[in-house]
Symmetry: D2
């Protein structure tokens, strides 16, 4: 239910404060949800041939700084699934110390590129978006 | 009270969906708050000689897509000021169409690099962080 | 012949060394060439409806560091024009000190999205790509 | 002599042309050289406690486009070592198709943060920077 994937902090992702720049946690969340989908059977490129999943809302709480070369573990799960949208929840943990670095969520809609409209979550996608109630 | 600054969407900020990648709105928010501080008398580099302002929380709602070359207007104001933290609110508007593209907030603490501790908002900073109640 | 445009260094563009991360100079070059095209009559979005201009080669020499909040001036000109490709040359100068921060080039081909092939530089584009021989 | 490391293309790294934005290959090169150093015994964070390795020159040739979700292999080696600088060479290959996507180099100096001066390459670093003559 919870997918775990690792990212190592790149220089490019740090800023002059010496730690990861705050918007890059949203990039790590992308890595987490793409891996979630892959582990449930769908490469992002396959998903996108059927439907796009634009982010309609995102949030992040920053608890600890992460520095260059830190190995982070992105834990991703589904926290909500409605008819027209669904929500990924993320916990980003320092894999070395075990400390929670950041947590957040992204809510997504479904966009059909053929009809150029918002559409309900298709069934094949619903099937892999089971809400995980184990945390929070 | 509300600072307005323009950013033009760069190729580097778009993604394969053809529109601005979602984390880059947090970069635009940075541009907005740095400009807010400048227009209130402080260059970010001056601020940082005294105190760092790490983001402790951020959120964004995505309402419309923005595309390459769009000119965006970032409207920044203070929405909350407490003893230990303060919050910037943002509205990002397509300057061509007038449509609201995204809105969000960032909450910041104060970090004293000398003592390496969190500190209350210093008085000189409080003086320029007046809560704007005109919107929302 | 030489277009000049300003960019202000964002936190997002710096890294843990305290200065602009090296790949971001290529983003500043993008800002420079998009502005070059605009000042010669074409918004990038218009250009792209006719032809894409993929980069086939890029280089950058890093002479001085640029820091947060520095105002940089990107000077862009055409240094070469062949049948199938053309080259932008860039000089990135610290607008405060006048010092040359970086210089570089990007070579571009023309890609026709309709036929999905590389094409010669169309005449309307040749007309605005006059080689500037004043520098170097 | 040649270090190989994998990166998977993120949405954040693509642009509105549908492929990897050109400056991000320089980020992949960073991943390659950091991994080179790690496989030769030094984490980048350890290296930086002794010496910084600012890029003084970079180049990239773009041969094939890389798309979202592509798995890229970054092959990194030392192509030159002088007294005051050294050069990494890179080949970025699509791990799925085997095709060469991009190649390039970065030349680095050594900066001593204590004395704030450029310094010759220290001996411990020379020891792991053996020029690889097998390619080119």
């Amino acid at each position: 239910m919870v997918t775990e994937t690792k990212v190592r902090v790149r220089y490019a992702e740090t800023d002059a404060m010496g730690v990861v720049y705050y918007s890059n946690y949203l990039v790590y969340m992308e890595v987490g949800r793409v891996e979630y989908l892959r582990q449930h059977g769908y490469a992002m490129s396959e998903v996108n041939q059927k439907v796009l999943l634009p982010v309609v809302e995102a949030s992040c709480r920053y608890l600890k700084a992460a520095a260059l070369d830190d190995l982070l573990s992105v834990r991703t799960r589904i926290t909500e699934r409605k008819r027209m949208s669904f929500t990924f929840g993320y916990e980003i943990v320092n894999a070395g110390t075990g400390e929670l670095v950041a947590s957040g969520h992204t809510r997504h809609g479904c966009w059909d590129p053929a009809s150029k409209t918002v559409v309900p979550i298709p069934e094949w996608l619903q099937a892999i978006l089971s809400v995980d109630g184990s945390l929070h």
